[in-house]
């Protein structure tokens, strides 16, 4: 009696579905390649859940999130392989430093709006990308660098199956944090900002503080995924820092549905698995990929999850 109404809410019900999917998915994953794709979906989903807080809720655009992702990945890689740090400590420092950079840079640039903000974040991403590609003595340059495996309490994390559960748990935590944040006063303040900045200000919301907060939180989410990816893959290249990767992340959020945490997860899942499914098409792969994106945006302009969710609600009535 008391459980059902709560499960019907997005916050608890959706989370329960996510946990269930993650718990049952291994039944369908018959080999390590499927695990690999599932892990990548999870890692991308973590970034997208964070980015969605910024884009979907606070209404601010960032075209530089690949920068934070790569900054953290490279910090982890450099600290562990060049300075012999334990991976755990490197992970914390890497995530912290990405958050710090986001805070320091975010304060001035979040004064900008619209296209100007997009340009500023774009510039930030490109600067990070150039530094990584050119400082080859530290970062290995365009050819990339190797990263030692992650160890947890002395046990090295190796193999897809172990990583699947690590990433799965991280994703659930990320979604849980995001859902709670959205339903807290902070989340309401962010949505107020998205609606009208002036109105929000009149209601006593300090726009700058909340925007910077959303920016830092989303950067930290990206950083977590970045560091984990570096350790999981064992090798990173500056391709992960490029503008294209930033665009890919934003596309995932938009496709899944802005202002929908589960939309971000679905967007990441669709865009990560689709290239693998489409390889059978050979030369037409990119064309079909583009067409699918276009058609989705034309017929489901609000993104997959909100549009389908609304249709489902109408059908139930």
């Amino acid at each position: 009696m008391t459980v059902w109404p709560r499960l019907a809410q997005a916050r608890t019900g959706g989370l329960a579905v996510l946990v269930l999917v993650i718990a049952l998915l291994p039944l369908a994953l018959t080999n390590n390649f499927y695990y690999e794709v599932a892990i990548q979906v999870g890692l991308n989903a973590i970034v997208c859940v964070g980015l969605n807080l910024l884009i979907g809720y606070a209404g601010q655009i960032s075209l530089g999130h690949a920068g934070f992702y790569a900054l953290s990945a490279y910090t982890s890689a450099i600290l562990t392989s060049r300075f012999g740090w334990p991976p755990g400590a490197a992970l914390v420092v890497a995530i912290g430093s990405a958050g710090l950079v986001a805070y320091v840079v975010g304060r001035p640039i979040l004064r900008l709006k619209g296209h100007y903000l997009a340009m500023a974040t774009l510039g930030l991403g490109i600067i990070i990308s150039i530094v990584i590609a050119t400082e080859d003595r530290i970062t290995g340059g365009p050819d990339g660098m190797a990263v030692p495996p992650l160890a947890l309490l002395g046990f090295p994390l190796a193999g897809e199956r172990v990583w699947y559960w690590v990433v799965g748990v991280m994703l659930v935590v990320a979604v849980w944090l995001a859902l709670n944040l959205i339903d807290s006063p902070v989340g309401r303040a962010l949505r107020a900002l998205h609606g009208s900045e002036v109105a929000a200000q009149v209601a006593g919301v300090d726009p700058r503080r909340y925007k910077v907060m959303a920016f830092v939180i989303s950067a930290v989410f990206a950083a977590v995924a970045g560091s984990l990816t570096a350790h999981y893959a064992g090798f990173i290249t500056p391709a992960k820092a490029t503008f294209l990767h930033s665009i890919e992340l934003v596309t995932m959020v938009v496709l899944g549905g802005m202002a929908s945490t589960f939309g971000a997860v679905v967007g990441a899942a669709v865009l990560t698995t689709m290239p693998q499914v489409l390889t059978a098409l050979k030369d037409y792969e990119m064309m079909v990929f583009g067409a699918v994106l276009m058609l989705t945006m034309i017929f489901l302009p609000r993104g997959l999850v909100p549009t389908i969710g609304a249709a489902f609600a109408r059908w139930r009535k």
Binding site: N31, N32, F33, Y34, E36, V37, Q40, A133, T134, D136, G141, P142, D143, G144, A146, T229, A233, G234, F235, I236, T237, A239, K240, P275, Q276, T279, E285, M286
Partner: protein
């Protein structure tokens, strides 16, 4: 009519299903699966595209001639777009899902290095098509490569310089992975050939004018020659500017410019440039006594006939990789991964487009400096330089 044509399609399918069911019995008839991941699209497409075409062409040819060990070859190829992470995912797919017998691929060094841990762990023969020395140094049990290394290019150039009594040079290099790796290798081996590098200039991605760097080089006292380690459009611009600024010294390029595109882009300015490159570029100009002539001329003609385009050294790397593998499988008499690996490591006197390959447990590339020819550009075409 309809029924009959449907049956025509169904019959082989049913046959294939029976085969799969009786896989244990029929294993001799299963194709040998060769996996490939190449940068067919994206910024490194000029590498991956000819590689893919070469593999396709020769797998067809080999199958038409009866296959290997009485079995057909099956090529399973994925486009990595030059992205290391995609390359790693595809390599995993080849190993785990497609269960290939060997892998050829990795057009770039980044892709290759990202895949190395996987193939080492899975224990599967892997022939890389990437240039840098790191691929084979230190030696990795399952990893081989066919292209010349950037270090060899430096050494070949330095030997040529020594012969021409040049000992003090200036270096100018670009921002790409190839450029940076080659610059580092040249700096490393220069002392061995008693070459002194007096100036070490660089240019950025997308720079359209390098006169500032070249003027500086021109005014550096003591410089006797200039070496440009670069890839893509950069070297063509450097070459043009080189003539505009009027730098009077001999000008060397790397094997990175070994395509007709470079000569076209630099206009007449490329005349007189010296560079090390594979014999493939001058296939028709090799003397008939040259043992490599047959291989390179045959490949060149076959490629031109099938794809109606000029051959490139990059496609040649794939040619060498595929034939090395076929050679090793024939020698091993099986596709057993460990035995094929051992056979690959014991390859001796294999004549490829890159040169004679003599592998050993300490050398998984097997090429020496004779594999490079010193070329000089004359009247917009390659000539043998020595």
């Amino acid at each position: 009519m309809m029924v009959r044509s449907t049956l025509k399609y169904l019959a082989p399918a049913a046959f294939a299903a029976c085969l799969t069911l009786g896989a244990g019995v029929a294993s001799a008839q299963e194709p040998i699966k060769i996996g490939a991941f190449l940068a067919v699209t994206g910024p490194a497409a000029f590498l991956g595209d000819p590689e893919q075409k070469t593999l396709e062409m020769y797998v067809d040819k080999i199958n038409a001639a009866g296959g290997v060990l009485g079995r057909k070859l099956q090529l399973i190829s994925y486009d990595s777009g030059g992205d290391a992470e995609k390359a790693r995912t595809f390599a995993k797919r080849l190993i785990e899902q497609d269960k290939v017998d060997a892998i050829i691929g990795g057009s770039t060094t980044g892709e290759t290095m990202a895949v190395v841990p996987l193939v080492e762990q899975a224990g599967i023969p892997f022939i890389s098509l990437a240039g840098a020395v790191v691929v084979i140094e230190p030696v990795k049990k399952w990893v081989f490569k066919t292209p010349h290394t950037d270090r060899m290019a430096c050494e070949k150039i330095f030997v040529d310089m020594q012969e021409r009594k040049i000992s003090k040079i200036a270096l100018i290099s670009g921002p790409g992975g190839f450029d940076k790796s080659m610059r580092a290798e040249c700096l490393k081996v220069a002392p061995k050939y008693k070459i002194e590098i007096l100036a070490d200039e660089t240019y950025g991605a997308g720079d359209t004018d390098m006169t500032a760097q070249l003027t500086k080089i021109k005014n550096t006292p003591g410089v006797q020659a200039v070496l440009n380690a670069g890839f893509g459009s950069g070297p063509a611009i450097v070459t043009k500017n080189y003539r505009q600024v009027g730098v009077p010294f001999p000008f060397y390029q790397s094997h990175g410019v070994a395509s007709k595109e470079y000569i076209k882009l630099s206009g007449g300015a490329a005349d007189g440039v010296r560079l090390p490159a594979a014999a493939l570029l001058v296939a028709d100009k090799l003397p008939d006594s040259d043992p490599q002539k047959k291989v390179v001329v045959d490949y060149k003609n076959a490629y031109a006939e099938r794809w109606k385009s000029d051959v490139s050294t990059f496609g040649g790397h794939a040619y060498d990789g595929l034939w090395l593998l076929v050679d090793a499988m024939k020698k091993a008499g099986t596709t057993d991964k460990a035995k094929v690996r051992d056979a690959l490591e014991n390859t001796k006197g294999f004549m490829g487009t890159a040169g004679v390959v003599n592998m050993s447990p300490t050398d998984h590339m097997g090429l020496d400096l004779t594999a490079f020819r010193m070329l000089v550009i004359k009247n917009g075409d390659w000539e043998l330089g020595n």
